[in-house]
Symmetry: C2
């Protein structure tokens, strides 16, 4: 886990990681949310809507932004203030995603980072694009 | 699960549901994301930052918006286009949340709903506020 302080991060700083969406992740997300929508749960419904298979929950894909902030940028001292995402293409079970964040702005008064985020699939296609604001918590004397 | 068509939903239409955040949900979210940030995983770290206990992942709370769209508003024919959320107060394991969405705008060309969303805890405090755009898929002849 990264442990960047606010001062250690410059505008333009970029972090990324890869993650593969598994069937177990779909089950876990369903257990949290109870979202039984057939686009995510019923293969025949998804096919009837023109998809090659069940579609991964958009908010499951968005949940990787939690990891981006909490583990990578800034890591340990992360406190997410806001997240805005647009979904560009469907994600399917088995897709290998690359999650990337780039610091586009810093607010010194609130130690707040603005991070442009994007998630791409194994074909390089953008599946999610958005922006987060993340506060960097103060370093403690006793850490 | 609701099965509203686009035409059945008027501006002002409101749906809500309740959900309790459990320890198992925290584990499920961790299994999906690998977000090992100590604010969510380490009680002593959370205490050192002034919280009464570990803080629920913000994006776990946001994941209930998947349910709001996919089960309630509009339900079956939901396709989420975008989600924007701000986190107002921390959520803790055991909190009982009320998730609410109200249609604020309709775009007939794209059959797109704009939904103002809010999530409140058992004290009535707003913990999340935001906006989603959700397309209502066409009704199929063979449904």
């Amino acid at each position: 886990m990264n442990e960047y302080t606010y001062d250690e991060i410059e505008t333009g700083h970029t972090e990324s990681f890869g993650v593969k969406v598994g069937e177990a992740d779909m089950e876990s997300f369903y257990s949290i949310t109870g979202d039984e929508n057939p686009l995510h749960k019923d293969e025949s419904f998804a096919l009837s809507k023109g998809y090659p298979s069940r579609v991964v929950y958009g908010m499951l894909t968005a949940s990787y932004l939690s990891t981006l902030a909490g583990v990578y940028l800034p890591g340990k001292r992360s406190l997410i203030h806001s997240v805005a995402t647009k979904f560009y293409k469907p994600v399917f079970v088995g897709d290998e995603l690359t999650v990337e964040g780039k610091v586009s702005d810093k607010n010194d008064t609130f130690k707040l980072l603005t991070i442009k985020v994007s998630i791409r699939n194994q074909k390089g296609e953008k599946v999610l694009k958005g922006e987060m604001t993340v506060q960097v918590l103060e370093e403690e004397e006793n850490e």
